[in-house]
Symmetry: C2
Subunit: 342 residues, 2 copies
């Protein structure tokens, strides 16, 4: 499949247009400013560094590992403003209750997940698991994510992620839920477990794996170097992970993110996030826990893929195949370019 | 509704999270480079200017109005490479046939639709209509669109748009088709005709109107200053527009885009495009022709809205209400800031 074709995303019930020949076109559009690697371990002006004051006046504790607090400018609030329901099917609105938290991954301003030591990444994994358990008791959907890099809207380079929890299933997880449920009803097995088995057999889209996890470029990837991270044991939610799986998760995160950074030798920008089965104890045999990584860069540290015009109005389009992207990521070293010897 | 709430998009069957209080947060993230207004009327290095050579060696004619050619690096090609159908529901791919064209709106390198004279915009309208008729004879979906500004992936500032035509209904129009059809089946009237009537009655989301067209911020808008452009007569497709409606379309485009430019006093970036009823003669009583405008800027010429993390993994989130956005656009002048007297 080297000519234009479409691929189907069974998790979202949507298609992507693939135009592998299009990478040949010259790029005369916007050049991004590549992120700089030079950051001090402590930045007195950073609102996330230990001991510093935030915009709303609160002071961070002198934390030494991870640190979680409620977002000072949360998009979701625990109290919903009551309002009268819509009068028309064309003007439907609904109240929403929720909360937004920030997770500092490390006290060190100059690190990234890729450059943290495995035991420290494991602390982030544990924090995700704890936060999930706590928030899923009160909210139906707990979205754990990281926006990495200014190109992805991160307003601070200090290594941190976010959690938005809300009392309803948002649009994207609702679609994934429907698709996984329909597959399970038809085939008696979880979609993502069957998909992982097929990918391991074909091997051409695998990027990195260990005893408990596999990262691959999905057959239906939209972003140039998009990956999907799946557990070998089809668990439903982060807190279900056992000790060995959590260590292995820290390992595969380090290795995947190091490859990403090595691709263009920069702090590789991306948004990533976890899709757990909704809720905490609901039975969900159709759902497998997974993380999506959506990185925008296409050709170099300064040329990104724009999902604009046709992509917004028609459907997403990509310029290299999932197989080509996986092969490039597979060929990279797992030693971070900033830590190479001599 | 001044607190967080969700609104439903009946055209796409999806929701948007609205957090009006969130505009108060300080912005410490990426600053965009504002577009510069200074461009010569003719640029010898531009591959779209009349008489110039393009990357593939072809030479543009000395055109004086609009000029259409097949994209030299088209994402779609008229001949589909045959390949064997998928063996598994998890690995579905399909061949696709299509073509991509570029429409230069004007020979003048320094203009934009907003700054062109109404009769010249009318030429663009006629070109859209002609191109639609021609391409819809051979292709099921004809996506006419414009990516304006480097921030929206435009690789050249010369005023131009694109048309991608393909033999299948892409994901987004397929969703709009389903939703409009279901509404028509249930209510016996087209969704967008009923919606327009209700918006005209409420008036609070209207931006600009004339005898034949209305531009409004949809109740379910995602992008900060997103608008929807609707004809008062519920026609299905661009070629159905009569002479008066085409003149009025040129008029409302000029007025809407001038307001956009005046908002932050820059060449306002956006992606816009037309959604016609699929095909050419298919009966489609459920469908009303419309154009979407998706502009990324939020607070100023240099601060955009990022649809990242939560938006990619959960659902879109916006920081001001549709009503606030409409009020701001309504308050602006229809004299372009570059053409003000004195
Ligand atoms: O063809 P252009 O203008 O160079 O390219 C632009 O528009 C296309 C269609 O929306 C997108 O696929 C590209 O990512 C974008 O950069
Ligand atoms: O909360 P932050 O990191 O300042 O903001 C960033 O992430 C949010 C959640 O994905 C987005 O809504 C914002 O547009 C983005 O700039």
């Amino acid at each position: 499949m080297q000519g234009p074709h479409r691929r189907y995303n069974p998790l979202m019930d949507e298609w992507v247009l693939v135009s592998p020949h299009r990478l040949k076109r010259p790029w005369q559009g916007q050049q991004e400013t590549p992120p700089t690697d030079e950051r001090p371990p402590y930045d007195p002006a950073c609102y996330l560094c230990p001991g510093n004051r935030r915009a709303n006046g609160a002071q961070n504790p002198p934390y030494t590992s991870t640190f979680v607090f409620t977002n000072d400018f949360a998009a979701l609030l625990p109290e919903a403003e009551p309002f009268s329901p819509a009068s028309s099917p064309l003007f439907r609105a609904a109240p929403v209750r929720g909360t937004c938290r920030v997770i500092c991954f490390s006290p060190r301003h100059d690190l990234t997940l890729a450059r943290m030591a495995r035991p420290d990444i494991r602390r982030v994994v544990d924090t995700w698991c704890e936060q999930y358990s706590e928030l899923a008791r009160g909210y139906r959907w707990v979205q754990i994510f990281e926006n990495r890099g200014a190109m992805m809207g991160a307003s601070n380079p200090h290594p941190h992620g976010q959690i938005w929890a809300l009392d309803t299933l948002p649009t994207t997880p609702a679609r994934e839920d429907r698709a996984q449920r329909a597959y399970f009803d038809a085939h008696g097995k979880p979609l993502l477990a069957e998909y992982l088995a097929a990918e391991c057999e074909q091997a051409e889209r695998l990027v990195v794996e260990n005893e408990h996890w596999v990262a691959l470029v999905p057959f239906w990837a939209v972003w140039p170097f998009e990956t999907l991270l799946l557990p070998r044991r089809p668990v439903r939610r982060l807190p279900d992970l056992n000790d060995a799986e959590r260590d292995a998760l820290a390992d595969i995160l380090k290795r995947l993110l190091t490859r990403y950074d090595n691709l263009f030798e920069i702090d590789f920008p991306y948004s990533m996030g976890w899709h757990n089965a909704p809720g905490l104890d609901e039975d969900a045999p159709h759902w497998v826990l997974h993380a999506h990584f959506y990185p925008p860069l296409l050709r170099s540290a300064t040329v990104r893929k724009f999902l604009v015009g046709f992509e917004m109005l028609g459907e997403p389009q990509r310029d290299l195949t999932a197989e080509q992207a996986a092969a490039r990521l597979r060929a990279l070293s797992e030693i971070h370019y900033l830590e190479r010897e001599g």
